[in-house]
Point group: C2
Chain length 248, copies 2
């Protein structure tokens, strides 16, 4: 028995997210089916975390336990040959038998792209949230920096997880910036971990700041007393990309 | 009656090319249907030229004759609202009544992208020809320059047009270069006009040079005595983008 880890890039547009679901096309489901056909049996692919339907990944990290002694280069080529072109694996390596991409992850980085121009190119449209309406961008840029540091992110958890007991909603954010690049606003955030819908809710609140519906004090209040607030609004999935996952 | 001209960007992956065809999804067909619904009647959209199934455009140029007095900004917004996200129009302008995007075009520029890495990103795959196998790239770069100047391109015409009489196959190429950019080879060509399949056949011949099947002399012979050669091979459509069309 051996454990392999690898990176997974995917265009999430046509997938119902990462996690296996009966009768739905998911990234984990497709990987398990393809790797299972190479292993000649059922396999379980672990990821660094779920991504929602429509969310993309540049380098999700996954791991699988195999009996098959196939060399890593052959494994990479065989898997990519069988996968749809919307999913590619790379950087296949032998890992420790107990390596778990989720439990051992130390830092994850996401980017969220808001396209501000009137006309969104057919070549960009799959990876952006197209929002061409007025926004106070300077206020958003200032507010984005407030997310940095350690906070209880209860106000930014998915509605169905917000009141779950016994699991801390505290996360540490190493880096949180919003910047203009040509016609796009790019939100980049790196943290110790993220709750379900958290990045999309953080962006949703920034958009409310941009529309003048919330100010910096309102953002701080959500970081200080999260349970008093209903989560969201949740920004659309299309703009979000899991950029990288780091381990010790 | 007025004449409008505009640019059209499209992701050609899911279209059966530019030109209207019965029962098939084409860019011209979708534009005529959408603009016809604004006009309240049948319209004919002229393009600067056909693009094959799967070929993309950054700025195809098109024109349409309308009775509707709708301002150009409203026209642009209304058309984009009705179009699928894979087609966008921009730069709508009033044009001379006799303006024809094909007959009056003076120069067209295309790019063809060959992705050389083993693993083609899900985010690039729609706009490249993925060719990860060995190629003598320096020989290809030298051969690409041979296309510049005025030549009879009979050897690079589509098979079904090669022997058509009465239409000159002579075209003038202002610019023809192949360059490496990161993991891609990018062929950029600007010319007075292009025959059906011509850019894809020019790339197909460059690929034969890269594989060592043809040398510079063989390329020159095709430019000098085109009718002696069977056209092709035709490189895949996915790598080709119509970049711009210029007028006087």
């Amino acid at each position: 028995v051996r454990r392999l880890q690898f990176n997974v890039a995917y265009d999430g547009t046509d997938f119902h997210g990462w996690q296996v679901q009966p009768d739905l096309l998911t990234v984990q489901g497709v990987l398990e089916s393809v790797i299972g056909s190479i292993e000649g049996g059922t396999v379980h692919v672990d990821g660094s975390g779920r991504t929602d339907a429509g969310v993309h990944a540049l380098a999700q990290v996954a791991a699988v336990t195999l009996n098959n002694p196939i060399p890593v280069d052959n494994f990479r080529r065989a898997v990519n040959r069988l996968l749809p072109l919307t999913i590619r694996i790379s950087n296949v390596e032998e890992a420790a038998e107990d390596f778990h991409p989720r439990f051992h992850a130390r830092r994850k980085t996401y980017e969220y792209r808001i396209f501000r121009g009137e006309i969104c190119s057919p070549f960009e449209r799959r990876w952006v949230h197209h929002y061409p309406y007025p926004l106070e961008e300077d206020a958003m840029i200032s507010a984005a920096a407030l997310y940095a540091g350690g906070h209880d992110f209860t106000a930014f958890a998915a509605a169905d997880e917000k009141d779950a007991l016994g699991r801390s909603k505290r996360r540490f954010i190493y880096h949180s910036t919003l910047r203009r690049e040509d016609q796009s606003l790019i939100f980049r955030i790196a943290g110790s971990g993220f709750l379900k819908h958290m990045v999309r809710n953080l962006v949703g609140v920034l958009l409310e700041v941009g529309k003048g519906n919330l100010d910096a004090d309102a953002v701080c209040a959500r970081l200080a007393n999260g349970s008093q607030y209903r989560p969201g609004p949740t920004a659309p999935a299309s703009g979000l990309v899991l950029i990288s996952v780091e381990y010790e």
